[in-house]
Amino acid sequence: MKKKIAIIDYGMGNLKNVRNAFNFLGYDAEITENYKHIENATHLILPGVGGFKDAMLTLRQKGLIEPIKDAVASGKNFLGICLGMQLLFETSEEFGHSEGFGILKGKVIRFDDSVIPLIPHIGWNDIKMLKPVKEFNGIENNSFFYFLHSYYCAPEEDITAAVCDYYGKFSACVKKNNIFACQFHPEKSHTVGLALLKNFIND
């Protein structure tokens, strides 16, 4: 079956660079906010930079919450990037309390600024792989990826595929059935990031 990659547009962050990465790998990818395109895609990507609450609000206004939930439930290959990973969880501490998709059990927590001198966590950090998921095929353990975030996910299930250490370990990647999500930006993580995106597309 021909691969149809859809990047979900909800007005948060640099979607163009996600598409550029797929184009560079030789795949077409469509940036879309049309639920029909989401329905028809074989591979769905939820990217994003910015606020959790604003993101959920925009997704709701655009009528994309249910189509995304349905697509994930139907078993479509799903990739969440950065904020797109966080949104999959139940709640975020941002502005007290914000509701996410609730597809994954757990919450999104802010880095503790009483302990950590620099927030956001910004730059290249290495990840320790815990599970041999297909997205890591051919990528060495402890490879560096590009991170840019002030919040991180705390899953309540055993779905963490890799951890990263920034004044304490946090979940850098999660994998559950058809869902893979990463806190870093693969589209900005040079050759290892491109390899990860390619692995996501290929079975």
Partner: protein
């Protein structure tokens, strides 16, 4: 562990790299896209583009250039030079820049930092500070280093941080182009004054200077221009040296 970043800086004028060109490789080094690809391949952690094209009509060419670069490199890149309004930032981000650096306009209208950080997120807003030592004080200069603003550089860095800047790009005008090493005292004072990453700039001659600014001043990143263009001080040898000194870098 978070790695210290090495950032090559390219000064762009009319779509050409105008500074620090390796004479043996003039043609390819003059083309920003080619040079960006080369640095990407040499494990640069990020790229900084400074548009020094004077005229306003030429602004469009930088957007086209940013667009082309974003299709070819897969590391973060920042663009600065002549950014004075929200629209300039939006245009650069829409063209594919990951971050935008603001210098003179932020000093003239500090509220621009608040509104830009609110609109695009702190992580996309870099405040560039050109500082020069006058007497015992570091002073901010604007307009490409031509105008004395009379503002204390460390106070200004703190204000930029409080207004929502995501990073500080700190250039020592006294060291810029001298190859005498980074200005440690200035960098260290700014690093201690803010809770966001500081990129040290101005004066790098070699890997030892970078080691010094990472260890003595605790900068998050070291930026340099011309030194990367010569084979013997390419980015990979610099990173290997830093790693041998116990500094965490991406290799």
């Amino acid at each position: 562990m978070l790695a210290k970043r090495i950032i090559p800086c390219l000064d762009i004028k009319n779509n050409e790299v105008v500074k620090g060109i390796n004479f043996e490789d003039l043609r390819s080094a003059g083309d920003p896209v080619e040079l960006a690809k080369r640095y990407d391949g040499e494990l640069a952690d990020e790229l900084m583009f400074l548009d020094i094209t004077a005229s306003h009509e030429k602004r469009k060419t930088i957007l086209e250039l940013v667009d082309k670069i974003s299709e070819n490199i897969f590391i973060p890149f920042s663009v600065g030079g002549g950014v004075s309004e929200i629209e300039d930032i939006r245009d650069l981000l829409n063209s594919g820049a990951d971050k935008v650096s603001i210098n003179t306009a932020a000093v003239l209208k500090p509220g621009l930092i608040d509104s830009a950080a609110k609109k695009f997120g702190s992580s996309t807003i870099v405040i560039a500070i050109d500082a020069k030592k006058i007497g015992d004080e570091y002073i901010v200069f604007t307009h490409g280093g031509r105008k004395n603003s009379g503002i204390n550089a460390i106070d200004w860095a703190k204000e930029a941080y409080n207004r929502g800047a995501g990073e500080i790009l700190l250039t020592s005008m006294d060291r810029d182009g001298t190859k005498n090493g980074y200005e440690i005292e200035l960098t260290s004072s700014v690093v201690k004054g803010v809770k966001i990453p500081v990129i040290a700039s101005g004066g790098a001659r070699d890997a030892k200077d970078m080691e010094e600014v990472f260890i003595k001043a605790d900068a998050s990143a070291a930026l340099a221009a011309s030194i990367f263009h010569y084979e013997n001080s390419g980015i990979i040898p610099i990173k290997k040296y830093l790693k041998s000194k116990g500094i965490n870098v991406r290799l």
